[in-house]
């Protein structure tokens, strides 16, 4: 094995171990009852609106990003016609404070995001974050 192969393996195995399980799967590769979602490892979800502070109302088709601190990964979605978005949830191992939501839209700039304190406090299962946008 070459040095580069060993280095790749070390990197890989460090990541493999946490995921080295095979969920119950069918011959085709999926579970018997795929639509019955197992929430046992589901953490907090994020939802909110992109709002146009100049014109009022929601911003449709805005790009919404959820960056996860120290994870080299992000989730991206777009707002619907009312400016609403939702990320369906992260695993429990993710601290909600490490998730940063931002929005972008051509012709507008993000002034700030507002994270609303969920009623459940630390036990909350969803957190609302609104993107407040203005003309540049």
């Amino acid at each position: 094995m070459t040095k580069s192969q060993r280095a790749s393996l070390l990197l890989g195995l460090a990541l493999v171990v946490p995921l080295a399980f095979a969920g119950m799967a069918w011959a085709g590769g999926a579970s018997l009852d795929e639509d019955e979602e197992d929430q046992s490892n589901a953490g907090v979800s994020f939802f909110g609106f992109a709002k146009d502070l100049d014109r009022g109302g929601g911003v449709a088709d805005a790009k919404v990003s959820a960056e996860i601190k120290n994870r080299n990964a992000s989730l991206v979605t777009r707002t619907d016609d009312q400016g609403h978005f939702k990320f369906s949830g992260f695993s429990k191992e993710i601290n909600p404070k490490d998730v940063e939501i931002s929005c972008s839209k051509e012709g507008l700039k993000l002034q700030r995001t507002v994270r609303r304190q969920p009623p459940g406090g630390e036990a909350a299962t969803s957190i609302e974050v609104d993107c407040l946008m203005v003309k540049p």
Partner: protein, 557 residues
């Protein structure tokens, strides 16, 4: 047909009636249609002239069968360049009908042969239903969902015709869960690593299945619903099937090359296959099994920049490259530490490997992505789902792949609901959930406008991801329970869609929403599809994974 033609037909019928099989309603030679080798009308006592009946002709001893479809007047027509002179067997497909026994016809070197065909109603249509029609017919909603996995190996007719009780089904389900993905009815392959199915889940499915099969009754107590026969544009098509020399051959991914050959991956055997559609000559290139005690066969087949073929080796582990110049294979095995009894590479993406010498693949077992350095043979692993929701029933699974000009990877999360991107330089992953939840996007293709087209298997939709806008648009496919496997955009901006379940190929215009569904001549389990844009009109290619055939569809408009 005019009076003169009718009179000539009657005369010819008298002359040739005794020479041709009695079950041909009528036969004649026509001399005024030099462009046709064989034509005729299809009728039934119930409907009269029948539109949308598939008529297939296969010359004795030939592996090639050609199919045309009757028009509104019930007429079918085989052009002269599609049938060489010889003795042909004819068969039809029209739900609810059958020919009265086998039918043959002799096609002459000159002139047009006419063979009118009479159909009769079948007493029992159950053997003619597609899996899609069974799913439409069965009662229930969400209880049916697990059945979409069964179609990887067999049709749903096998399920509903069974007589297993719920208790017996539990054992059947547990047994089948230990079959490899790359199994067919002709070649069942067991996994090396055993999988356990939780009793409660197996029982839940088993109890439903026992309500829709024949365990408690001699006939199904629900109405058997059927899809309509083709009409209009769906009848203007020529379909050619090339039978493989062994029934065990399972063509999975099909691709054409610059020389006009058709290449395919064999899902259950250690061969790369090649077909010359001009001659029907079939060639196999054998490779050694790296892990002889593991299930054989490869899934994805993709070319690199130099036209060499790459195979994803499934349970054999790693990737295989076929050098088209030297006709030799080179295996890139997984390193020992990544290899295991459950290691499985189903996808490969070498199309932009000339950029950086890297080829993408996946590891189904660890829900992750691997990247091969072609020069060193080393694999790097990327987990694009760090921190994303994951649970026993929400497991991510990178599947269909495409690469952009920088060899950045775009992949489908077949286990869940997202399109993913991995930056080739930084391994940074970006996940884009589809608007429809649990859509299970499957195979994909990247067009030259930077749009990723993909099949949303579980959502019954087609998706498009715009790389620049980072946005996803979706379209419903017109027939419920189609479960599209793959999609391909042709040069006219029309989408072609294939599936494992409905024996139809969808041609869909995303601009207008108009669609045409071409019914196929027989049960056809389609996986990867390919459009040859060099022909006019374009030509559709796919494999019939369960019935050892390559399928060509040529629309006539």
């Amino acid at each position: 047909m005019g009076i003169r033609g009718a009179a000539r037909s009657a005369l010819a019928g008298i002359i040739f009636g005794t020479l041709l099989p009695a079950n041909l309603a009528f036969a004649e030679l026509l001399f005024d249609t030099p462009d046709l080798a064989l034509t005729g009308r299809v009728t039934s006592s119930k409907e009269g002239a029948m539109e949308g009946v598939l008529v297939s002709a296969q010359r004795t001893g030939s592996p090639i069968s050609v199919t045309v479809v009757t028009n509104q007047a019930g007429r079918y027509s085989f052009p002269v360049d599609r049938l060489t002179p010889g003795h042909y067997a004819l068969r039809i497909r029209a739900i609810g009908y059958e020919l009265d026994g086998p039918t043959t016809v002799d096609v002459a070197a000159k002139g047009t042969v006419t063979a009118d065909l009479a159909l009769r109603n079948v007493d029992d249509i159950s053997s003619q239903l597609t899996s899609t029609e069974w799913l439409i017919s069965m009662p229930g909603a969400e209880q049916k969902r697990p059945l979409i996995e069964c179609m990887s190996c067999h049709t749903l007719e096998r399920v509903v015709r069974s007589r297993f009780t719920a208790d017996e089904f539990v054992g059947v389900l547990k047994r089948m869960a230990n079959y490899a993905n790359n199994s067919t009815m002709q070649k069942v392959q067991a996994r090396v690593a055993e999988r356990d199915v939780p009793e409660d889940r197996a029982r839940r499915v088993a109890e439903y299945l026992a309500t829709v099969n024949l365990s408690k009754r001699d006939r199904w107590d629900y109405e058997l619903k059927t899809l309509p026969r083709p009409t209009g544009a769906a009848t203007r098509v020529i379909i050619t099937e090339y039978d493989m020399p062994r029934s065990t051959i399972a063509p999975h991914d099909v691709r054409t090359d610059a020389d006009g050959f058709i290449w395919y991956s064999n899902f259950v055997e250690p061969y790369l296959g090649r077909l010359d559609p001009r001659t029907g000559v079939h060639t196999e290139f054998a490779y050694h099994l790296p892990k002889p005690s593991f299930p054989a066969g490869a899934l994805a087949l993709e070319p690199d920049h130099d036209g060499n073929w790459w195979l994803a080796m499934m349970f054999q582990g790693g990737l295989m490259k076929f050098d088209t110049r030297t006709k030799t294979f080179h295996h890139y095995p997984l390193p020992t530490q990544l290899d295991s009894d459950t290691a499985q590479q189903s996808m490969v993406m070498p199309r932009q490997s000339q950029v950086d010498g890297k080829v993408w693949t996946n590891d189904v077992n660890t829900h992750s992505i691997l990247r091969l350095d072609v020069k060193t043979g080393a694999y790097e692993r990327v987990d694009p789902f760090q921190g994303m929701p994951i649970g026993a029933n929400r497991q991510h699974s990178p599947y269909g792949m495409a690469a952009d000009k920088n060899n950045d990877l775009y992949f489908m999360d077949f286990g869940d609901e997202s399109v993913g991107r991995v930056d080739a330089k930084t391994f940074r992953a970006t996940i884009y959930p589809t608007p429809t939840s649990h859509s299970r996007p499957r195979r994909t293709m990247l067009d030259d406008k930077g749009r990723l087209w993909f099949a949303e298997f579980a959502a019954n939709k087609i998706g498009m991801f715009d790389l620049d806008r980072e946005s996803i648009k979706e379209w419903d496919v017109p027939t419920p329970h189609t479960y599209p496997y793959d999609v391909y955009l042709d040069r006219n901006g029309q989408l072609w869609v294939g599936s494992m379940s409905d024996d139809r190929v969808l041609r869909f215009d995303p601009q207008t929403g108009k669609s045409v569904e071409y019914l196929l001549p027989r049960q056809t389990n389609i996986r990867r599809i390919f459009i040859d844009n060099t022909t006019t009109p374009v030509t559709f290619w796919a494999g019939n994974n369960h019935h050892a055939a390559i399928l060509k569809i040529e629309p006539l408009d």
